[in-house]
Symmetry: C2
Subunit: 507 residues, 2 copies
Amino acid sequence: MTTLTLRHVAIDTYRENVAYLHRDCKLYRSQGFQALNKIEIQQQDNGRSIIAVLNVVDDIAITAPDELGVSEQAFAQLGGVAGIAVSVAHARAPDSISAVHRKIAGDRLNLEDYRGIARDIAANRYSKIEIAAFLVACSEIGLEREEVLHLTRAMIETGERLDWGEPLVVDKHCIGGIPGNRTTMIIVPIVAAHGMLMPKTSSRAITSPAGTADTMEVLAEVELSPDKLHEIVRSERACLAWGGTARLAPVDDLLIVVERPLLMDSPGQLVASILSKKLAAGANHLVIDIPIGATAKIRSRNSALVLRKLFEYVADSLGINLEVVFSDGRQPVGRGIGPALEARDVMQVLNNDPAAPIDLREKALQLAGRILEFDPDIRGGQGYMIARDILESKRALAKMQAIIKAQGKNPSPPQIGRLRHAVRACESGFVIGINNLQLARIARLAGAPMDQGAGVDLHRKLGEPVQAGETIYTIYAAFPADFEFARESAEQDSGYQIGDHYVDDMP
Amino acid sequence: MTTLTLRHVAIDTYRENVAYLHRDCKLYRSQGFQALNKIEIQQQDNGRSIIAVLNVVDDIAITAPDELGVSEQAFAQLGGVAGIAVSVAHARAPDSISAVHRKIAGDRLNLEDYRGIARDIAANRYSKIEIAAFLVACSEIGLEREEVLHLTRAMIETGERLDWGEPLVVDKHCIGGIPGNRTTMIIVPIVAAHGMLMPKTSSRAITSPAGTADTMEVLAEVELSPDKLHEIVRSERACLAWGGTARLAPVDDLLIVVERPLLMDSPGQLVASILSKKLAAGANHLVIDIPIGATAKIRSRNSALVLRKLFEYVADSLGINLEVVFSDGRQPVGRGIGPALEARDVMQVLNNDPAAPIDLREKALQLAGRILEFDPDIRGGQGYMIARDILESKRALAKMQAIIKAQGKNPSPPQIGRLRHAVRACESGFVIGINNLQLARIARLAGAPMDQGAGVDLHRKLGEPVQAGETIYTIYAAFPADFEFARESAEQDSGYQIGDHYVDDMP
């Protein structure tokens, strides 16, 4: 078999491996390859192989006819050594694709089917197109609840699984969609100060203005090696780290790459995604926060109930203790939206600062209370008071400082963006609506989360009175272009509704 | 707004535009771009814009920080001039994606919805992921027949439409899947010799060992400019050209790029794809060939009937005269599989060569007869005899020679592959089964259609007696690697079934 010489092409193609073959390469002609074909690249010395999408090159400065160029990620997966011999062949369609076709045709799949799909996706055998087909098929016909259970199981099995060796390992998760909702950074120090084990790994923002990992990064290092992470958890009973370094439920990461641009978030996928990650991370007691609101992911109490029952069914079947909490999703939580602004809110709450946003503090205490009640020694209903006591005695603050120190304090915390624009009320009245989606959009346009200091700071919340001309929120940015985009968007739609009457209709 | 300098990156990314941005480019940081994001590139001077997928570059030899590199196709779409100023922004999701989400949720879409989807796809605003979501949604819930009609209409409207200015413009189409089925190259000269207008444009093979355009290319030039094509049709009443140069129903071409790797071919998509192409090409009388067989696309008479009714409904609504013919899809048609071998079969039939494959000749005469009967002057049932008369009198051959001359005769027709391998029967008996899919696979592995002389030549057909050790077919190839792949595949599965009893059970 003809071999080619491996070459590193310094192009970052994120989660899609790309191979570059020169048009004059004899394999290109003889094998009938076409650009966008999926090919299998095999290392000659150890037989290891990866799947990549083919691009055809007409410039020997990129790839010569006797070479196979590969993008940065593919190069790393092949061991990162240029000049080794590789062979190339058409990639076969993954075996499990027949199950996807059965799902498209309306069949119900079994555990073995989902295992096959998860294994092939984890091995990068699915193209983005094939992943999209799987997701749409699951979303459209819908998954029966047994199928959600099968999918969750299969996703856990295809990755690493942490074992903390303790009967009570707690975690919390919010299904997302509410800007500023940074309760995790308050809950973790409270719960750990009580002595419970809460090894929290979080994601970075994908479509939101800040994830917990982005916000914690304002204060401390979050990219920790597995050894370092274990050491911190052993000494502090907790951590607040980025979850991307561990290979936990890797299928989920690959599905997300396709789900996000499609704006797909079916209940079955949501439950499988969250529970597979949490179980793989070793949690056995879990509180799920489902915010309900007109511009939240879940818009009615009815949909929230359906989702709760699905969470409960899968969690019970997998032997994890799970409590679902419904919360107020009608507006952002806290004041800041964007990493530095949200970190400020969190630290104000932990410091018992009178300026701290009350809604963020209250929500964090409620959720922390529910987690504390997983402790058999705590009487039902006492969790909230114990959480408040830990917060007010500044034991939570001390724990947060210890975690920051252990992870490595950020030596140069970011400044809040130097470009500032006040968005003012056009009329007087009460704030009767705040659009989560529009506020998140403005904060992102302003530069969050890439610019840690960028974002939006809210001066008025739902139900508060406002006079025409008063500032309802401030936009912060670092770069003029971003600043303009954010201002323009706020001018078109401030995201605020002002009216004469406000009725508190918490869903 | 910040601008970048356009640069040509000599990478062929086929139907997916790719843009290359250096990691140190200030826009990369300030805009929060990520690899695989969809971006909109706008030419500063004329405002023209395209959508592309972003790759991030770490090598200034590919793209410098003040440049925007684009792949070959994107460069051509932007006018093909390096050094011009372009601006870059996040691409918004196409407006029509909300209709796709409604389809995923099970809604029925209306004509305006399909128009929006077709317009956005034609403008390259859909990523492959979004196209996959649309296709799966259409395939799974299925399209109601009104929706197939809407989709067909929308696909026609988004491209050019040819008008030949005559009331009787005929065409034929086979839904595909049967190797060697090259009837078109016999039908066109027969019908044109009778004086009917048949401006035939065909596709190249995508997953099969030869398309009509590939086979005709063995004999003559097939990539004709629109002017040249019209001139030939005016003088000869017909042509046998590649359809890729005209922008007819371009949405179909973009859907196919995603359909093929997914192996999706739902009836609704199939009908919309075929009829939109034919109507855009100006046909108003059409014969559709649906082969039925265990290894054909359509496996039962019942599925064939469902498909026929869908064809009839859409064609009637669009005012095109359409006849559906069911044919024998149990085995390849003719002997040769691969461009040069199939061209040989065709010319044998046109030459009335006694060695000509009878099944190819008979099938072509049947279909040509049906087309001739669109002529109001031909009595029902007489078409076949008239077609046979045109063939036997060599008027069809003369017409074919005139078409070849007009399009430009191939000055160096390909040789049949120099590497040859005889596949022999392991036992004696009758040929009781031939697998279309396996024979097509072997011919493709041997190098067809890229190597025009490669392919498979059948020595035995269904129902024929065979002795153990006799050659059942020959594999032809030009390159040793291809030759080995094809031989290996034939050894694993020859695609032939031999048994003691043969019953002719034509479906």
